[in-house]
């Protein structure tokens, strides 16, 4: 028996619990809305989070906890949480919820089969994801500042260009 088999068996319930835990990070009045299944376009935050958590969990099962696939799932969620009412820790902390859920769901089996090392490997995978999530978070926050600067540039570009305020290399003047 491998831990991956256990994880696969319990995939539905683990992802659901992890999702619920993530939704718990939102204000009470909002949780119901986020937990009610809807079309992607009607409830994009919940749907994006849900499908990303599924993707990330598959990554754990398949031992793919780094790489572009995982990064893009992380990006989908962290990009949202980076502009919501969260501190940096809260924004990426949802990832650790998976550890709690897995322990809760698998602890008996882990004990019975003595799979502590395997569990630790899984948890290291989760830690790797969390570290990557932090990098993404930082990039998103930097991006917010860039957006502001770029917007001003787009707006005034023509005026500056016309009044010869830009140097030879377009854009250098601003």
């Amino acid at each position: 028996m491998y831990i991956e088999e256990l994880l696969t068996e319990k995939k539905r319930v683990i992802v659901r619990k992890w999702f619920d835990l993530t939704i718990e990070t939102y204000p009470e009045e909002t949780r119901n809305f986020l937990k009610t299944p809807a079309e992607q376009s009607a409830n994009p935050v919940a749907e994006t989070i849900h499908s990303a958590l599924q993707g990330l969990f598959n990554g754990i099962i398949n031992k793919e906890t780094t790489g572009t696939g995982v990064a893009s799932y992380l990006d989908n969620v962290v990009r949202i949480r980076a502009i919501q009412d969260f501190t940096p820790t809260q924004a990426v902390g949802f990832i650790f919820g998976l550890k709690d859920v897995i322990r809760e769901e698998l602890m008996n089996d882990v004990r019975r089969h003595g799979m502590y090392e395997e569990l630790m490997a899984v948890e290291s995978g989760i830690d790797r994801m969390a570290a990557a999530a932090f990098d993404i978070y930082m990039r998103c926050r930097e991006k917010i500042y860039d957006l502001r600067a770029n917007e001003v540039r787009n707006w005034t570009y023509r005026i500056l260009k016309q009044s010869n305020m830009l140097r030879e290399h377009e854009g250098e003047g601003i």
């Binding site: 718990e24 079309e39 935050v45 940096p88 917010i144 502001r148 770029n150 023509r158 016309q162």
Partner: protein
């Protein structure tokens, strides 16, 4: 920016928000950076005679309000309850069914319960109950009433400037309660004591004095357009020759000033110039009524009326027959829903008739102002212009309905009709996110400042998400629209959420496809970028 935690702190974090233990009514608002705009500078308020001009900062304790601010607000509220029957009704008839609650893009994107439309309205409704209903006067909070305090006032300001007056929520309300109008009145009341935003007050003052939001003077407007005319000549070999402030022209053309200076609005503007040249109509630009937009609409009805009047005064001065308006959003909400009561009917103008097709625009019978999307769709329908849609073949286009033109006046088909004739690849977004149910850009109603970027990214997320869907399904790379604010803010929204999707006005696509009499072989699009397949012909030249 907050400090990054250490690894050992990380593993111990509590990811549940702390329980406040009290309801929304008692929770004072926290001003969070990135979520609100700067307070207006005194000079802007002075220029238009708005009250309580002073330096102030929204995140500071003291807002420097007049001593009797509470009386001013309550008197203002009373006056408006008497003046607008709809407003009184909106205060009374909400049954809290919750149908609107999850329909606001700010709520969807932020998860902040105070962005539920029903709670946004409750901000003002609770005060209304306290002072204007017998139940509220007697039973206080048991009847959902609350005192108007300094904190409540701050909360109004914070959340009425987190509503883009987009009316999406009202589409879902069984009683048709229009939160946009509640927000408008909320902002109007705040304006009575000088609580505005700089981003709105500046354009209002500029427009009042110089005719456009940026305060561009006549020579700057002409030179901006000339710059575009040079580009058009480079692309087509044809020099278009528009007139300015010409008395006796048949049509006055007015577009938002964003089209005059900011990319990608300028490309849309080139599209207008080319089209109006090609069909050879007798029209003129004005360097005085040089703004289609109306930021006055985001302060008070009275200010909006004053700014709107400038366009009609100019039409009268020039002696034109009717007005053709460019691609704008709130400009049209103002014209379609308010202009007639404020400044209409414009009897000195004639009912607009297209000089090319003879079509009578009956919908503009009293306002005498036609949206260019209607005008161009009519040209295409009557086969009056020659188009080569393959010049837009490098684009996979989707269309963003701007809230004002779709929900505000029902322009749903015309832009799609145009796009389908000038492009070969068009993909509509989900029905949840288009037409009457369109999601706002997140930056309308004067919220398109830079300092509230986080708010804008939250509010724009549902729109961006729908774009992402068509990008993933069909490879969409261009987001078309008919609104100048959209052209200014959607590129930023795409940059954050859906990189790889550009933004354009619908008439930029028209300009690309338009086959002009005597034009040279097109090798570039309106952005002066080489058309696919034309790389060699560029080198030959």
């Amino acid at each position: 920016m907050a400090k990054l935690p250490k690894p050992e702190e990380l593993s111990k974090i509590d990811y549940k928000p702390p329980k406040t233990g009290c309801g929304w009514r008692e929770t004072p608002v926290q001003f969070k950076e990135g979520m609100y705009c700067f307070g207006s500078r005194p000079k802007y308020l002075e220029e238009v005679g708005f009250p309580n001009a002073r330096e102030w900062k929204p995140n500071e304790e003291d807002w420097k309000l007049p001593e009797n601010w509470k009386d001013i607000i309550l008197d203002g509220l009373k006056e408006r309850l008497e003046k607008y029957r709809s407003f009184r009704l909106f205060m009374d008839i909400c049954v809290r069914c919750g149908a609107c609650a999850d329909k606001c893009h700010f709520f969807i994107g932020s998860g902040d319960p105070k962005n539920m439309p029903v709670l946004r309205a409750e901000l003002i409704r609770s005060v209304y109950r306290k002072y204007f209903t017998p139940g509220g006067k007697v039973f206080g909070q048991w009847a959902g009433a609350r005192e108007l305090t300094y904190d409540v006032l701050k909360e109004w300001w914070y959340y009425f400037y987190q509503c883009t007056e987009c009316r999406r929520c009202s589409v879902f309300c069984p009683y048709g309660i229009d939160q946009a109008e509640i927000t408008m009145i909320g902002r109007e009341l705040l304006n009575l004591i000088g609580c505005n935003t700089d981003w709105i007050a500046g354009p209002v003052a500029n427009c009042y004095r110089k005719g456009n939001h940026l305060g561009l003077e006549p020579h700057a407007i002409v030179s901006n357009l000339e710059y575009m005319i040079d580009d058009i000549e480079e692309i087509t070999g044809i020099r278009v020759d528009p007139s300015f402030n010409r008395k006796g022209a048949e049509i006055l053309f007015v577009t938002p000033s964003g089209d005059l200076f900011g990319d990608p609005g300028t490309y849309t503007c080139m599209g207008y110039l080319m089209l109006l040249h090609e069909i050879g109509i007798d029209y003129t630009w004005s360097t005085y009524a040089s703004e289609g937009g109306n930021f006055g609409f985001f302060t008070s009805m009275e200010m909006a009326k004053r700014l709107n009047y400038k366009i009609y005064a100019e039409a009268k001065r020039l002696g034109v027959k009717w007005i053709l308006g460019g691609e704008c959003g709130h400009m049209w909400r103002v014209v379609h829903q308010f202009m007639d009561t404020w400044n209409g009917p414009a009897d000195f103008l004639e009912e607009p008739v297209s000089p090319v097709t003879g079509t009578r625009f009956e919908n503009a019978k009293t306002t005498k102002m036609v949206h260019i999307a209607e005008f161009t769709a009519d040209l295409i329908k009557n086969g009056k212009i020659k188009l080569d849609p393959s010049r837009n073949d490098h684009l996979k286009v989707t269309f963003h309905d701007s809230c004002n033109t779709s929900r505000g006046m029902g322009i749903l088909e015309e832009p799609r009709y145009i796009i389908k004739h000038v492009c070969n690849n068009f993909y509509d977004m989900s029905k949840n996110a288009t037409r009457e149910k369109t999601f706002c850009c997140g930056s309308g109603s004067g919220l398109n400042a830079g300092e509230n970027m986080e708010l804008r990214m939250r509010g724009g997320f549902p729109r961006a998400n729908a774009v992402k869907e068509v990008k993933e399904q069909h490879g969409v790379n261009m987001l078309a629209n008919i609104c100048a604010i959209d052209r200014a803010v959607l590129p930023t929204l795409m940059d954050y959420w859906v990189p790889g999707v550009s933004v354009c006005g619908t008439h930029e696509l028209v300009g690309n496809a338009l086959v002009m009499k005597g034009e040279k072989k097109r090798t570039m699009d309106l952005r002066l970028e080489t058309l696919p397949g034309m790389e060699d012909s560029e080198e030959e030249e």
